[in-house]
Symmetry: C2
Subunit: 547 residues, 2 copies
């Protein structure tokens, strides 16, 4: 042994930001403005929280749940749990009560730290989640009169008050559990992904690479993606390690409020799903001179692929680079990333070509391995045309589900992602679709995502959702639900004509339906399961099958 | 277990650059120009070399030595050895024959890959290094008629010719040895530092962080620091992983040739010791319009601290950011880094303040821990004034020396670096001196580095070297050797007057001696051991002790 084998535990990097940049701020949006504290205060409070949790009987490995928006106390919970070796179980506030009940019971959470404004959503579970011994309630302006009947409850501030501001972080194994996040499955119960210290430590280092998000201590970071989604895409950890200023929107997800917050706090890097960026675009378009977003330089976009028109708009109008990331809860989540300039040869490309690359899921993060396979698990060529199941492996990829291994979701040490796609000769991964959302027509596959992106690129189209409908001859045929911009005058026929510029006739939707809204999942993606269920409930029939 | 525990072996990241950027170039300087090959060719040749080494009986863990300048074949040796699990022992070409003999014998190198032009330096060892079974000779233009009597020898190209271009990298433990590098000790025999896969993997990730060197796949990297010094500061690994263009100067270290190479190849990032950058500065000053260095954006400077005037010159004249790094062979080597903008509060600083920070050794890399201690190993305050021994620990810090543990160089799991310094309230490490180079006068310490930096900041001073001389009353007193610029007219008295602007009277050198040259170590640092020995050989006596 020639080198130290220091364990890769989060406690080795957690406190660094507060050490090198103690006066940097954590800003949380409130009903009337913002609440501010320094990184040093955040660290001290996190250490106090760890003492309080310890006092409440929490031991390394125990699950501590959060039911919280993005805010300073949620960050303190991340910090405290990781330092002391507890497992932070980030409950998704937007799930159904039934799912939340299942998840809490399955994880056997011993304590829940909840935002007071969200307590009402938990109340139906009173008497149904026996593992929960204690509630700690984080109170923001306007919610001072909270109540809960889930378990004996204490105000967060009373809970940590008077505790020492230094907790001697214990030495734990680097493969100890760190966090728990359940995926909203398409069938069956939600499945838990258990993050570990080493996996998230390595993910944090990768996220801070220049060619990743270019995250720097000089950044002001605003994670809009909820901290209950795949550890907030890892941004809380990276920002704590580097010592970034962090701006947290809490429950105020209205696009106008988000834009105001980013402008007034000088946010340089933000992260969210495409619907967030569509909202930001609409807000800016409605009143172009109202907000100064000149500090903003990068927005990372994940969850689903951003339309090319949106990438272009951010570049042309705001001089902001949209960075696309692809990943899953199971991949911690960063798996591939796409930036305008990913390698030297891109320097010589036209802007159009560069932005086209951003529309792809991107290149593999160093240390991971991704490939596409046919149904017999033979590797397919990287020719940009062969479509296969995407499998991935590496040190921050899930190896089994929590207390429910599901070996069918793995092939050897590869995770079967459930997405299908191509890899082009430049080694860019391009997601064709979720395998469950592909339209299988006459033995061929039609990508619903490709159709949606093409339709949404039309002037006057705000959103498009393509789903499969059953057909006795072709097996399935695609139909499109389309939301138009206000006052747009577009006919179904003109959309089909637009589609013929890129798609073969057999790939065109059989039906174009104009709608007011498209249902979204709790992660802000279009919920095609609900769309299909709605159509079925309405006894929808494809046009050529109607009597 | 919820996450994959993929081992952190270099084979998981080595081939990535050639996969994502196969056409990118590796450029090696030759006698008459450059030699070029693609990254894909480099990977293929590295895999061939691994097969050839395997055929020559090399097994995982065996030491394969290189005796080479920076060039494509040295890079292939890095790549092949790391992939197959052999231990790359990078011999320092500039050491004495006696040291090289000791090192080869101590490491029991089985095979040496040597540059043909350097074979003459090994020839005195014929018959004295019994472990070496085979020589592989890398031939550059002009050295086709090489001979060696060390061991049976083969031309590198013949060695790898016809071997398969894919080697199935074996699964090895992540704590397996990767490389071996001996430090040129000040007393006793050289000591070996054995790098491991995991340590160098983590070092590579850290080096590619935005706040590290900002290394990107879009960079054209020129590592001037020899690849036989602490793995070329890790740059070969990072550039292989990212897929950078690499420009390698081979034996052509003349500043004019280096500048020509950097200009013609569009180098964006380079790395070397201060003497290299002094040479580049002199070359540009001699003929400011001769070379276009506009692509160059960052130079990293390590080995010893760059004078403030040099940092300023690079900024003002070339618009190049000098990044200071501090580390040792024992620290892989990156330990701290100093950049102009290291945190948000720097954005509001004046340029002068920013560049002053670059003159400090810098901030700790994430994941490491550094602190200053008194002689009883009590931690000292981070007040910028308390001077203490610098200790460091973390996942890429040496834990013992190879086959010679030297426990006195460690304190618990801390490495005693042998440097002394302060940590300021901003958590910047400032190196006061090597502990052996401090001048101990009347119970107080005088920093030779501080005096040197102050003297060299005078117009007309090219270089300064301060060493201690014995004194019966004060124990030691400082004297300064100074090299003046051509035609500079400076008196010893004016240098002393200049020093009084910053130093107390008792800290001033007792003697100022103008010299033509200052001896350098094999790493390009001033060799104070030799300076002191020279003074002793000349029976030097301090002025106030002369009869």
């Amino acid at each position: 042994m020639g080198m130290q084998h220091s364990p890769l535990t989060m406690s080795r990097i957690l406190d660094r930001g507060a050490t090198v940049a103690p006066a940097e701020e954590i800003v949380t949006a409130t009903a009337t403005g913002t609440r501010r504290q320094t990184l040093a205060e955040t660290r001290d409070r996190a250490h106090q929280l760890a003492h309080a949790l310890r006092g409440a009987g929490i031991r390394p490995g125990d699950r501590v749940a959060t039911f919280m928006w993005n805010g300073s106390r949620h960050l303190e919970a991340y910090h405290a749990a990781a330092g002391m070796g507890a497992v932070l179980h980030t409950l998704n506030i937007r799930l159904s009560a039934a799912d939340i009940e299942y998840i809490i019971g399955h994880a056997e959470d011993r304590l829940i730290i909840a935002d007071a404004d969200a307590l009402g959503l938990l109340e139906p579970l009173a008497g149904r989640i026996a593992s929960v011994e204690r509630m700690v309630v984080a109170v923001e302006e306007g919610f001072e009169d909270w109540t809960t009947s889930i378990a004996p409850a204490v105000d967060y501030e009373d809970f940590i008050a008077g505790q020492p501001t230094r907790y001697d972080w214990p030495d734990i194994d680097e493969n100890s559990p760190l966090g728990l996040c359940y995926t909203s499955g398409t069938t069956g119960n939600p499945k838990g992904v258990e993050y570990e210290h080493r996996s998230q430590y390595l993910h944090t280092m990768a996220q801070c690479m220049t060619d990743s998000m270019g995250l720097s201590a000089t950044d002001t970071v605003c994670g809009i993606v909820p901290m209950f989604h795949a550890m907030g895409w890892g941004i809380p950890w990276s920002a704590l390690m580097l010592g970034c200023k962090q701006v947290m929107p809490h429950r105020f997800m209205d696009p106008r409020r988000l834009v105001e917050l980013m402008a007034s706090e000088g946010v340089t890097l933000s992260a969210g799903v495409p619907t967030i960026w569509q909202g930001v675009k609409a807000t800016v378009q409605a009143d172009p001179d109202a907000h100064d977003l000149s500090a903003l330089s990068r927005v990372t976009c994940g969850g689903s692929a951003p339309p090319a028109s949106l990438i272009r708009w951010f570049h042309d109008t705001l001089d902001v680079e949209m960075i696309q990331g692809w990943g899953l809860t199971e991949t911690s989540p960063l798996a591939t990333l796409s930036r305008r300039l990913m390698k030297r040869k891109h320097l010589a490309m036209s802007l159009d070509e560069q932005l086209t690359n951003v529309g792809k899921a991107g290149q593999l993060m160093p240390g991971l391995e991704v490939d596409i396979f046919d149904t017999d698990f033979n590797r397919l060529p990287h020719d940009g045309e062969s479509v296969g199941e995407i499998l991935i492996r590496g040190p921050w990829i899930c190896s089994e589900y929590y207390r429910n291994p599901q070996p069918e979701r793995f092939h050897g040490d590869w995770l079967i992602t459930g997405d299908v796609g191509t890899i082009d000769p430049e080694e860019y991964l391009v997601i064709a679709d979720r395998s469950k959302d592909l339209v299988k027509s006459g033995g061929e596959w039609i990508s619903s995502v490709d159709l949606e992106n093409h339709i949404v690129a039309m002037d006057g189209v705000a959103q498009a959702c393509v789903v499969a409908q059953p057909h006795p001859k072709w097996d399935e045929r695609p139909v499109a639900l389309v939301i138009l911009d206000p006052d747009a005058e577009i006919s179904p026929q003109s959309i089909l004509e637009h589609c013929t510029t890129r798609f073969a006739k057999w790939q065109l939707p059989d039906d174009i339906m104009f709608v007011e809204a498209i249902p979204l999942t709790s992660t802000g993606k279009m919920d095609k399961k609900v769309v299909r269920a709605d159509l079925e409930a309405k006894n929808y029939v494809l046009p050529d099958l109607r009597p």
